[in-house]
Symmetry: C3
């Protein structure tokens, strides 16, 4: 809310819409209270508000928030047999799908920031200023599309408030993702606005805290490993989505977490 009043209103309304759909639709009370419907709606509403433009983009964002709750329910059913959580997959899928509508329906306008490019004309340029201080705080902000240092600091405070483990793994996940991205030679212009860090944060928290109910000692290591893994996944998804001009959003978090949770069932010692 610090960074934009209207974005905050959209975030609030989106969450309410998502939770309402879950509740009125008669979903399992537990699922609604875990915030699964609300969270995917929140992220979808915010993403569409930021990546779409034009006079009606706020209406489209709220419709998107509504559809996010619907798609969340659908994917919960489809994925039930795998035993894997849907995480933010409904948000990613729906947002990427919606953004491409703009090329065919004149009522929907996509932001100029999202430009389709061909892979054969792409030149990698990793140069840029080295700004470690910003890198620490922008990552957590990017979870909610905020690239202001001050929003990042406030979010870190909020996460520590929720539990010191959450805060610790948020810091660690961000740090290892940053280091991995620097070592592998990622674009600094992306690293220091937090675009390589936010998936690391979400993954570390998910693997080491949220989905670590049996408290196995190795899980802390796995959490760090999974956070590092988001860096190459982010890079690869960037390439796959380049011809469509789309961002990978939180898909690296989803993939990395799914891999770890699946692996645990087959390799129980990890």
């Amino acid at each position: 809310m610090v960074s934009s009043f209207s974005l905050g209103v959209i975030a609030l309304l989106s969450t309410m819409i998502g939770t309402l759909v879950g509740r009125l639709g008669g979903a399992d009370e537990k699922l609604v209270n875990q915030g699964l419907f609300g969270f995917n709606s929140l992220l979808t509403g915010m993403a569409l508000y930021l990546f779409l433009t034009g006079p009606y983009h706020w209406i489209l964002s709220l419709i998107g928030a509504f559809l996010a709750a619907i798609v969340t329910a659908a994917l919960m059913h489809v994925m039930k047999n795998t035993g894997l959580p849907v995480l933010t997959f409904p948000f990613v899928r729906l947002t990427l799908f919606t953004l491409l509508i703009s090329y065919r329906l004149s009522a929907v306008h996509i932001s100029n920031a999202l430009v389709p490019q061909s892979l054969w004309q792409w030149k990698l340029d990793i140069t840029g200023p080295f700004n470690l201080k910003e890198g620490i705080f922008t990552g957590i902000g990017q979870v909610f599309f905020l690239d202001y240092t001050i929003s990042g600091i406030l979010l870190f405070v909020a996460v520590f408030w929720a539990g010191w483990r959450y805060g610790l793994y948020a810091l660690l996940g961000n740090a290892v993702a940053l280091v991995t991205a620097l070592v592998l030679g990622a674009e600094r212009s992306l690293i220091f606005v937090g675009l390589y860090g936010y998936n690391g944060i979400l993954t570390a928290i998910a693997v080491a805290v949220v989905f670590n109910t049996s408290k196995r000692p190795l899980s802390y290591v796995t959490g760090i490993f999974a956070a590092c893994l988001t860096v190459p996944i982010t890079a690869s998804l960037h390439s796959w989505l380049l011809p469509f001009g789309l961002p990978p959003l939180t898909m690296p978090f989803v993939l990395s977490t799914w891999i770890v949770l699946s692996v645990r069932k087959v390799l129980p010692r990890l």
Copy 2:
């Protein structure tokens, strides 16, 4: 058959091939009688006959019809655990897959109508004549790749013959899809040849009639909602498939219906 004799022969032979594969292969009698094998073969045979060219395209169409029955069986097995019907997904998948073969095998020739384009050079042009009368009847024809008004009228008669509910939801599905496409600013050159309507028709019938065995009152509303949803899905799929020059076929119907059927399991009140 009104519009093309050879297309009618291919349609007939394709259906026979599909049904035969189901029966000789020893499939569950019920599945064969529901026409699942025949319908996917029929659509695949017709689509390949229309979208491929060259002297042997009728042979390739019939081979495609045979493979459609095989792929239908395979997908039935893969999707069994989700509890979702395969619908026309085997046809869509196989046809899109087959059309792209033409770029690598010189015996297969793709129609000039299907041109790969880059998203970064694409310009949306929605202008065109406003022809509501055609829009009403071409949609149902496009289910079978026919864009003649007269074929559409005959098909509507056939659908009403099958049951008044089918006819009613065919009309309603087409109408709401047309209105949604006009409101969202789709290309008129596509709207009025029925390319935004046919997925609405199939979806409304599937959601409100075929898969509505428990006759819940809200299902009629859901059917209309699902038909509207096919419009943005069609637009998005057009963008995704643009670099390959492929049409979305009945994939919007498949996705929209799957979403509704899955959601019902998690949000039972909808």
Copy 3:
């Protein structure tokens, strides 16, 4: 090993890494002994060593071999409900994913042989020398990325050593894939280095020998049919992957075998 010493070392180390991950991770002893972890690691290590360049590509290959065992475990869990084997799908998925990292991380360099191209500028040119003798022996070599005739002969000897059925179906699978590719007009420059044959070999062995425990008589015909099917699948995947400049690897084998194994459950007489 005949063709390259360093490639042999990478192959050996990759297999060891894969098997170790399976064993130390506590996987079902049977799965490890079937070589599922080792085989996917072996192929991934070799593929990355060949398709990546730069001073550190051998390190990246071994990291890839490690991750292949992880992804194998993950996909085993995800696919458990379908009753289908993972085959070499972990290798294909991971390798394609890893190769695209190179466009975004400067520590990873992709080989010049893999060039992204647009489908709208692609011209098919099937001309080339007709060299049947090479075609017979290069196919089996290509399973392990070797296009030397002598390696192919040695591998055939090894396969016959493992059992005469394996050898017979390797020869047959290669032969029918070659003939299908010639009849359908594939590029001779690909056919006679074995790039249309190796998927036919793997598929014929898998369908007619490995997954044919009930020894049904029709399985031998199905094996040949499935080997032919890899040819159009290879062609189509080549087109889908053209904008990314990626090879289809053993994906045609995976898809063709999955189709046959799924179909058998629904059409039991085939």
